[in-house]
Structure formats: structure tokens, C-alpha cells
């Protein structure tokens, strides 16, 4: 019996060491499994977060900045007059537009034209145009249009046409007007426009509409048989939504 018990007793340190080793291994295996589990959990969470972000990115409207460093954005204005029409351009354009390619009807935003950027080729005509009777650019520095609602939205390929209603402000007078708009969404075209310096999407806005100068108090003294009451406006704008 002694011998029988001697062996285990004699090997007590061995068993203790073995027991400790087994315990350590179990702990390590547990920790390993726990670590493995947590890594897998982290991976799953990351994947879900990425998916959520992607869905959110796809669902969220993109914000397009219309301050164009290339100077392409322009608003052309035209009024009929006896000798030749008063025809000029404004290119001091800024503003932002929120556009969701999946929901073009949710279009919102504001376009601002710097009044002093209005240019006509005749210097005297330009001086009159900027003057107090006409646009009074010293006191009314901005011409703006802010979108309030969108109707009759039709999308064909990259093009969307709609009737956009908004608050149009000119010479300090704000009126609600509805204008026809054509939007062209150009995904991933910003790189082509910036020689690869920036990546992102472009939104092109085209619109042609008519306003009456009498509605905005633009030189009411000028008889309409000399200078037409109607001002034809043509907007050609391109906004960029860079991706970081």
C-alpha cells in the first residue's frame, strides 16, 4: 500500500505541475477562444458598420458646391432693346445643393449670384446696369434662388427634369417663382474635371426662365417699348461633391 501510495505521493510535484500546466493551457485556450471570438465579433461589427455606412451614404443626399474654380458656371441674361438686345453674363456663382440620385424630388439648396459680376461688353451700359436705377449692386450684392419644393420630376438615365419652385431674390425683392430645371448627375466625373486631384461626383443644372423687371423694381422709369419688361435668364451650372 505504501508503494501503491508512494508513487503518487512521490510524484506529487509532478501531478501538481501537470495540473498547473493543464490549467494554464485551459486558460490559454479559453483566452485564445475569447480573443478569437472577440476578433470575429469585431470583424462582423465592422462589416455591419461598413454596410450601414454604405447604405447611409447611398441613401443620404449628396451636397454639391457650386463655387466653380474653373469659372464655367454662368447665368446669361437678355433683355430686348431697340438697337440690340442687352445681353450679358454673370459668373460670380456660389451656393450648395443637396441632391439624392435615388430621390431627385428631394432636391434642396440655394444658388447665389454676385450682382457685381454681371458683365456686358459695353462699359457705359455696364455702369448703368450696376447703377442705382437698375440693379443697385452697391446695396443689393446678391441675387439668389432658394429651392422650396420640386414637382413633375421625370428621370431618364442621368437626366432629371423637374419644375422647381423657390424664393427668388433680386434687388432686395423676394418673390416665389417656378422654373423648369434639367439636372444631370455625373457620378465619378470630378476627377476628370480636376485632372485627378479630387474624386467625386458632379451635378449639372440647366434652366431657362423669364422674370419681369417690373416685379423687382428694376428701373420702372425705363419705358417697356424701349427696354423690354421681360428678362430672359439662362443658368448653366455645375456643382461638385468631392469624396474624402
Amino acid at each position: 500500500m505504501q508503494k501503491k501510495f508512494a508513487l503518487p505521493l512521490a510524484g506529487c510535484r509532478f501531478w501538481r505541475t501537470l495540473g498547473t500546466l493543464v490549467t494554464n493551457m485551459k486558460t490559454r485556450l479559453f483566452l485564445l477562444n475569447a480573443s478569437h471570438r472577440s476578433r470575429r465579433t469585431a470583424r462582423v461589427l465592422t462589416a455591419w458598420a461598413a454596410l450601414g455606412l454604405a447604405v447611409a451614404t447611398l441613401a443620404a443626399p449628396l451636397t454639391f458646391d457650386f463655387k466653380d474654380p474653373k469659372g464655367v458656371n454662368n447665368a446669361v441674361f437678355k433683355l430686348d432693346a431697340p438697337l440690340e438686345s442687352i445681353n450679358g453674363t454673370a459668373n460670380g456663382i456660389s451656393g450648395t445643393v443637396q441632391f439624392d440620385p435615388a430621390h431627385p424630388g428631394a432636391l434642396r439648396g440655394k444658388i447665389v449670384v454676385e450682382a457685381a459680376s454681371l458683365h456686358v461688353p459695353n462699359p457705359m451700359m455696364k455702369e448703368h446696369l450696376h447703377g442705382k436705377d437698375w440693379l443697385d449692386v452697391a446695396n443689393h450684392k446678391e441675387i439668389s434662388f432658394e429651392v422650396t419644393r420640386v414637382a413633375n420630376v421625370k428621370t431618364t438615365g442621368a437626366d432629371t427634369t423637374a419644375e422647381v419652385t423657390g424664393q427668388f431674390t433680386l434687388k432686395g425683392v423676394t418673390r416665389e417663382i417656378t422654373v423648369p430645371v434639367r439636372l444631370t448627375y455625373l457620378p465619378d466625373k470630378l476627377g476628370a474635371r480636376t485632372n485627378g486631384r479630387m474624386q467625386g461626383d458632379l451635378l449639372v443644372i440647366r434652366s431657362r426662365f423669364t422674370i419681369k423687371r417690373s416685379d423687382f423694381g428694376i428701373n420702372p422709369q425705363a419705358p417697356t417699348d424701349k427696354v423690354a419688361d421681360e428678362i430672359e435668364l439662362t443658368l448653366s451650372l455645375s456643382g461638385a461633391a468631392p469624396r474624402s
Binding site: V72, N74, T89, K189, S238
Partner: protein
């Protein structure tokens, strides 16, 4: 002093001729005089058309009218000086 009238009439002819030449050379523009000329361009990526103004003098009918009016005044004064020697 008879030469003054002759000089003015000759000056009127030269002025009228120069005005007409400059106006025709500038493209016989039938609108107002321009000091910048719009050049239509197209952005390749967006397809938008836009104008760039290049500084250039383009005489219009106001330039032509002013030049011809000045020539007419010169000619008139010259003719009057010739017809009424007492005014000299």
C-alpha cells in the same frame, strides 16, 4: 485764312474716311461699341457652354455716328468760313 476752311473740309473727309474704315475693320458691328468681346466655349466634362470675355475694341454704330457727326461739323464750319469771309 481761306486755307482754314479748306483745311477743315479736308479734315472732315479724312475723319469720315477713317471712321468708316475703323468701323468696317472692326466687323461693321451694328450694335453698341464694345470693349470686350464674348467668346463661346464648351466645358468638355459637363457639356456646359460658357462665355469668356476677351478685351478687344469693337466699334459700334455710336462710334460710327460720332465720327461722321464730327466730320459733318468740320465740313460745315469749313464751308461756312468759305461762304462768309467776314467770319474769319
Amino acid at each position: 485764312m481761306k486755307r482754314a476752311g479748306l483745311f477743315l473740309r479736308r479734315a472732315a473727309v479724312v475723319l469720315a474716311g477713317l471712321t468708316l474704315l475703323v468701323w468696317l475693320g472692326g466687323g461693321a458691328h451694328r450694335g453698341w461699341t464694345q470693349t470686350s468681346v464674348p467668346v463661346e466655349k464648351t466645358d468638355e466634362v459637363t457639356g456646359l457652354t460658357y462665355r469668356e470675355y476677351q478685351p478687344r475694341f469693337r466699334p459700334g454704330v455710336d462710334f460710327l455716328g460720332a465720327g461722321l457727326l464730327a466730320a459733318a461739323v468740320f465740313a460745315g464750319v469749313g464751308w461756312t468760313l468759305d461762304r462768309h469771309p467776314g467770319l474769319r
